[in-house]
């Protein structure tokens, strides 16, 4: 279903239209369920997550209009965040915010000066290819599988702080490239 139709359904859901929620579910639940399943790796958990995702979509639909982002990306983010929260609650990992000493500076323009890019599509592939292959791979796996810093560090056999530095630098480089 085209983005515009999805955005229209979200707008109706924001107005409390139950039938629109059912249509939205038919249109996007296979995609969102696949996201939950990939991150949680358990069907029952993924079904529970999917329920939570649609409860949130119903509750937050009125906030969608203000974001101006791609509706599919907005929906996918709700699914990813729900699944990641569930897996993190179940398999705790060390906190990383607050223990700084890893000052990484984003030298790009103020966010207000940059509009949200829509349809960045294949550009992200070009920008990913500008990163060292292993780091691009880490970004992709972190995103697609919902891995934590700890799990990434184990998978790539590097210390946790090294992984944090890699990922942070890679993300800022990615942003800089996408805004170029």
């Amino acid at each position: 279903m085209p983005s515009l139709d999805i955005a229209g359904l979200i707008a109706k859901v924001a107005m409390g239209d139950r039938a629109a929620l059912a249509s939205l579910y038919s249109a996007v639940s296979p995609k969102l369920f696949a996201i939950c399943l990939r991150i949680l790796k358990d069907r029952t958990d993924a079904e529970d997550a999917l329920q939570d995702v649609f409860v949130k979509i119903w509750q937050r639909a009125d906030r969608y209009a203000a974001t101006g982002v791609n509706p599919n990306g907005w929906l996918a983010a709700i699914a990813r965040n729900q699944a990641i929260d569930m897996i993190r609650a179940r398999r705790p990992v060390a906190d990383t915010i607050g223990e700084e000493g890893l000052e990484i500076v984003d030298g790009s323009p103020d966010p207000e000066a940059v509009s949200i890019g829509l349809g960045e599509g294949r550009r992200i592939d070009r920008c990913m290819s500008e990163l060292p292959p292993e780091r691009a791979d880490a970004v992709r796996n972190a995103y697609v599988e919902g891995l934590s810093y700890q799990e990434l560090a184990e998978r790539y056999s590097v210390p946790l702080n090294t992984m944090r530095t890699w990922l942070r630098r890679s993300l800022l480089k990615l942003k800089e490239c996408l805004e170029r």
Partner: protein, 239 residues
Amino acid sequence: MTELDDSDRDRSRDEVLAAEYAVGVLSFADRKRLEARIEREPAFALLVAQWEDRLSPLELAAEEVPPRTVYPKIEARLFGSPVTARGMRTGWWNSVALWRSVAFASLAAVVVMAALQQGLFGSAKPPAPLVASMTGEGSPLALHASYDAASGRIAVTPIAANAGQPRSLELWMVPGGDAAPVPLGVLPQDGRGVIEVPAALRAHLADGMTLAVSVEPPGGSPTGLPTGPVIAAGQARYP
């Protein structure tokens, strides 16, 4: 590299945190901390939304159809009953007015009225939530609790308890000094517990600001100033 002042440094740090949140690599506690910031800081919420949008092309195209049993559970959680008519939003919270009109004696006497509520929905016989209104002797405040067995969740909504007479609870921002309290809105009775702060007032909501709740006529104070008793007040601060 040019010198960075503090605001540049904060923005730079927030940019990284928003990116880490969007990718999903943080711990549960760190995620919850950032989610609290997303709720109360529109600028930070925007950074996160931009990162989520920026990274979304990395998502795989894979699809997996969920079992048929999932959607009815979602409807049960949201509406308490399956959809029967197009576009109708007849949540069980509609019956809050009913609960408000009932006087409750004391906290010890918790009244459970699921059976009565079941009657409100006619022949559809939806899975009615278990509800209770809790209040203390002489307290102007009652808490309406509703347990939804399908989701295993209890939603608690504050309401004004005043024998026989519906009242609203209104939230105020009290700037202090000689300034008058500013109404932020009537406490919602839809179970979401969220008040949208008018855009013009958001800048004033800061550390040290006092928030207060007063008992008002239904729909809120008619004068724009508190008319009923202030039943709760406290200073806002970042934890």
